[in-house]
Symmetry: C2
Subunit: 231 residues, 2 copies
């Protein structure tokens, strides 16, 4: 989410600056949206890097080039900030998933598309994986508080169900395959490989993050997923 958030923030900040300058041509020495977004982005990095307990509020304020007063002003306390980070990160995922439109693809192509989409998404958002690991350490304590995240992946599961049914009708996928199991399988293969890459490469002495290795694992996910649902 970091890159995207920064992009949006800067765009908004520039727009605000332009408007203000057109009106009175003063130096922009305050900019609430920018400060808010800068804190959120800094917090995302800090929480992803150190976990909830390891994250330092002072460090977040410093990284956002503001101070703690603003942080507490916008987000209440450390937990509120953490929850805001979680929700913003999930929102990014949800937005990205909307890009998927598998309805017109042939079943096997659709499954390939879905698996590679998930894999590339994990690759592009390492902070999402880290936050997920941290949140699970805390038994999803904070995520459960959020009303916004409840019906999160329904779009994805709907699209997946459709693909599976069409594959079944065409006689190439087994009948009554559970879409959630299929999704968990795809997510598991991508998540584990990336989130555990450091301990895995320490143990196996293998460069898991070389570009070739990453592409190969993406194809591996596709192959395993298809093999597991074909008749």
């Amino acid at each position: 989410m970091a890159a995207r958030a920064r992009q949006q923030t800067e765009n908004k900040a520039e727009a605000d600056a332009d408007k203000t300058e057109r009106m009175r041509s003063t130096k922009v020495s305050r900019n609430p949206q920018r400060t808010h977004a800068a804190i959120l982005e800094a917090a995302t990095e800090e929480f992803a890097a150190h976990g909830f307990g390891g994250a330092r509020v002072d460090a977040i304020a410093a990284r956002a080039q503001t101070n703690k007063r603003m942080l507490y002003h916008y987000f209440g306390d450390k937990e509120g900030l953490y929850l805001a980070v979680l929700e913003a990160t999930y929102a990014t995922i949800r937005d990205a998933e909307k890009q998927l439109d598998l309805a017109r693809r042939r079943p096997e192509e659709g499954m390939r598309e879905l698996a590679l989409f998930t894999w590339r998404h994990f690759l592009a958002h390492p902070e999402f994986l880290s936050l997920l690991a941290t949140e699970n350490l805390h038994h999803a304590h904070y995520l459960q508080r959020s009303e916004k995240v409840s019906v999160m992946h329904s779009h994805l599961i709907d699209e997946l169900s459709d693909v599976l049914h069409r594959g079944e009708a065409a006689g190439i996928f087994r009948p009554a395959v559970d879409p959630i199991s299929v999704y968990l399988t795809i997510a598991a293969l991508g998540f584990f490989y990336l989130s555990n890459r450091h301990t895995l490469s320490t143990i196996f002495a293998r460069k898991l993050t070389a570009p070739d290795a990453l592409n190969a694992w993406g194809e591996h996910i596709v192959a395993v997923t298809l093999a597991s649902i074909r008749v």
Copy 2:
């Protein structure tokens, strides 16, 4: 590891107490092995529950029913204690893996055995999964310092290679299957399901940890693994 460590500790403690009482029949008010093991067990729980940054040294000392002086006496500092926990936890895994003897099993049975073993092992050792997640958050910083953990899974990979070769020779497995990819597949399916169960069940509103669901997922791992390597 917790249960096993506690068991060993208590056995040793009892043996020591017996010996001491036979010799002079004094109350046992000091017992280095027990203290050492109690600290290690308490630290395992604390680090697994809160991560490195979230773990509290005072809490560990209190949980071990000793005090910080002893903790620093035996383990140097917080990082030394964390490293000791990591090494002890990996040692438990390594010991368990030695129970595996797949050499005489038919290939498909061997694969099933290996997958279920890994799954049951993860189920029995949730603290291992949490510590792994924490360690990866820190880019395996501490694990890399340990010389002891380098050639960790070699036994497992050797056994797996043998099973794959025999399956290939029998014409039921595809040729030149990469054993590490197969192991990663098995581990990924188990690890992700368990370590992310809290966020997953929040999102999907499904009880992932019901006994039936757990058994079903174990069979799912077996089925997916076999489907991915069969000719």
